[in-house]
């Protein structure tokens, strides 16, 4: 069984993140990392592979990313977290890809690997946070999509996930091959020990170009992007801030402050009529 995990290299969300004059994320800050939500995807894949091996089968987990030189760090981290092999699509023409362009590149990379039984992604990238990629990838790979999984199980060639939506909780199942995206509730990613880190150094990272994948550069990257950031500005800092220590009256003062600014209505709400 082969499980492919698509991951992304993003600026560390704890760091100062910024957009450049071109409206693109500044990615050369040097504090990039494997997208934290993709750690859940790798963990889910590694656990499923372990279960398959325990049941006497073969299993391989391959992490795949597309991005500049630094993006290799993301797949290296995936290897430390237990993946067996990695693919890095490295091509200048990938720069500036929107979610659809990225999905196009990753779909080509997954196809290039041959048969995948399961494709796993995180629920979102913590840079753009569009959450468009999993569904786009499933569509391009013509796979059933089981997204936003808070748990994943494989049995008899069927994948079953549980997912929590705003208005409902669902259990979905589909025959393999399939695509699953997992939320940060799906598992607790392992922390690689020294042994795992050393072992990861020996695992292969295959570097591929768009030409290797047969992807027309005009369809991806900034050339193929369907949207363009025309303006980007840091949010101005808040002014007139109040910070007090409760002297026993803070609740009363806060109530007055809220009413003065009309932040809560001065008469109780009567309920909105559609």
């Amino acid at each position: 069984m082969r499980i492919v995990v698509c991951v992304k290299h993003v600026p560390d969300i704890q760091s100062e993140r910024a957009l450049g004059p071109d409206g693109r994320l500044v990615r050369d800050g040097g504090d990039g990392t494997l997208n934290e939500l993709d750690e859940n995807a790798v963990e889910a894949a590694v656990v499923l592979a372990e279960q398959a091996r325990d049941a006497g089968g073969d299993a391989e987990v391959v992490v795949v990313t597309a991005g500049p030189d630094d993006a290799e760090d993301a797949v290296r981290r995936g290897l430390q977290l237990g993946a067996d092999a990695a693919v890095h699509v490295l091509d200048d023409a990938v720069a500036g890809s929107d979610a659809i362009g990225t999905a196009t590149v990753l779909a080509a990379a997954v196809r290039h690997l041959g048969e995948a039984d399961l494709v796993v992604t995180g629920m979102a990238g913590l840079d753009g946070l569009t959450s468009l990629l999993p569904a786009a990838l499933a569509d391009l790979l013509d796979l059933p999509q089981l997204t936003l999984a808070s748990s994943v199980a494989l049995a008899d060639g069927t994948v079953t996930v549980r997912r929590d939506l705003d208005h409902a909780t669902e259990v979905l199942e589909a025959p393999l091959p399939a695509l699953v995206s997992v939320t940060d509730r799906a598992n607790e990613p392992r922390y690689p020990n020294f042994q795992a880190i050393m072992a990861a150094r020996k695992k292969p990272v295959t570097v591929l170009t768009l030409a290797d994948l047969g992807v027309d550069p005009a369809t991806v990257g900034s050339a193929g992007a369907r949207t363009e950031v025309v303006e980007a500005a840091p949010r101005p800092p808040r002014t007139d801030r109040v910070l007090v220590t409760d002297d026993g009256e803070a609740g009363r003062h806060l109530a007055a402050w809220l009413l003065e600014r009309d932040l809560v209505r001065t008469t109780p709400a009567t309920g909105e009529v559609l």
């Binding site: 409206g23 994320l25 753009g128 569904a135 786009a136 909780t169 803070a250 809220l258 209505r265």
Partner: protein
């Protein structure tokens, strides 16, 4: 002339989801004089109670789409139905609420129609060249951007509460024309089987994602949301929580605000015992006014609070609720 299509999210009962009328309002602006606003209603639920309301908000045609045996709550099915209507109506813009389900559908509609997509938009308009341009905050609310759609068809997902909904003026309420449509979705959209679906119990409180005022509890509540709920009921607020509070089981998962949960942008955010970890800030930093009460003066939420109180929430919240009740009711 431009036809702007609005995805009419609705409950099983046929009730429109709260912010759909905001989409219709934004759609009227985008359609402009001579343009038209159409709705797409996918599913078998009754359309009747929604129709006059949609009419008053400027929707002139509703495409009522059935998908045969295919479950329209599965997003690939929804996407095929919506893409079919985009083509049939000749729509150049599709507006939908920015939910996880709609993002999935939008990705597939984009592939089917060649559209560019902007998610989590806080506003949408046309620029001088007639392009659809959406505003959004990114990087946990620290940057604002304007994003132009370069393709012939634009898909924009608007955050709940982004637009103040308004009726059509100086016109008698119009009844939208209903165009029934049956879409035969492909096998590839129906390979997922729904084994189980449990709807959330409806709440009397406003919907968290679109609420005007949000009361939020974090680790500092120690699991006691009672005082927060009393405050929420007093001011008509939704109740939300941090990841810690939902992980501890103090409140349902659907209440989680953050990058992986619900994104809120209320006029007023009231956070109690919330430290303001970066994940949480990513889901609330676009809020209008931020009030925070926390015992820890070093809590990061104070960096973004307009009004911060260092103190015990179990002292401050009941006093706040009582004082609001006194001042408002005399």
């Amino acid at each position: 002339m431009a036809t702007v299509l609005v995805l009419l999210d609705h409950a099983d009962t046929g009730a429109l989801r709260g912010s759909v009328l905001e989409l219709a309002t934004a759609a009227r602006e985008l359609a402009g004089p001579g343009g038209a606003v159409h709705g797409v209603w996918v599913g078998d639920e009754p359309l009747d109670p929604a129709l006059p309301v949609l009419g008053r908000h400027g929707v002139s045609v509703v495409h009522a789409v059935t998908t045969g045996d295919a479950d329209p709550l599965l997003t690939p099915v929804l996407a095929e139905a919506v893409a079919d209507v985009v083509r049939a109506a000749g729509a150049t813009v599709l507006l939908a609420l920015s939910t996880f389900e709609n993002k999935e559908a939008a990705a597939r509609v984009a592939l089917a129609t060649g559209a560019g997509v902007v998610t989590d938009a806080a506003a949408v308009e046309r620029d001088a060249a007639g392009r659809v341009v959406a505003a959004k905050t990114v990087l946990a609310g620290t940057w604002t951007t304007r994003c132009a759609v370069l393709t012939e068809v634009a898909v924009v997902l608007l955050k709940a509460g982004a637009v103040v909904s308004s009726h059509v003026e100086d016109e008698a309420p119009l009844a939208p024309e209903v165009r029934p449509r049956s879409v035969a979705v492909t096998d590839r959209a129906t390979r997922v089987r729904v084994v189980e679906r449990t709807a959330q119990a409806p709440s009397d409180r406003p919907d968290l994602s679109s609420a005007d005022v949000v009361v939020v509890g974090g680790r500092g509540t120690g699991g006691d949301f009672g005082p927060l709920e009393a405050l929420a009921d007093e001011v008509g607020a939704a109740v939300g929580a941090t990841r810690v509070a939902t992980d501890e089981g103090w409140i349902g998962h659907e209440a989680q605000i953050g990058q992986t949960g619900v994104t809120v942008s209320p006029r007023l955010y009231l956070g109690f015992g919330v430290s303001g970890a970066v994940h949480h800030r990513g889901g609330m930093q676009a809020s209008g006014t931020v009030v925070a009460v926390n015992e820890d003066p070093e809590a990061p939420i104070f960096e973004i609070a307009d009004y911060g109180v260092v103190g015990d929430l179990f002292q401050v919240v009941p006093q706040l609720t009582e004082e609001l009740r006194r001042l408002r009711r005399g």
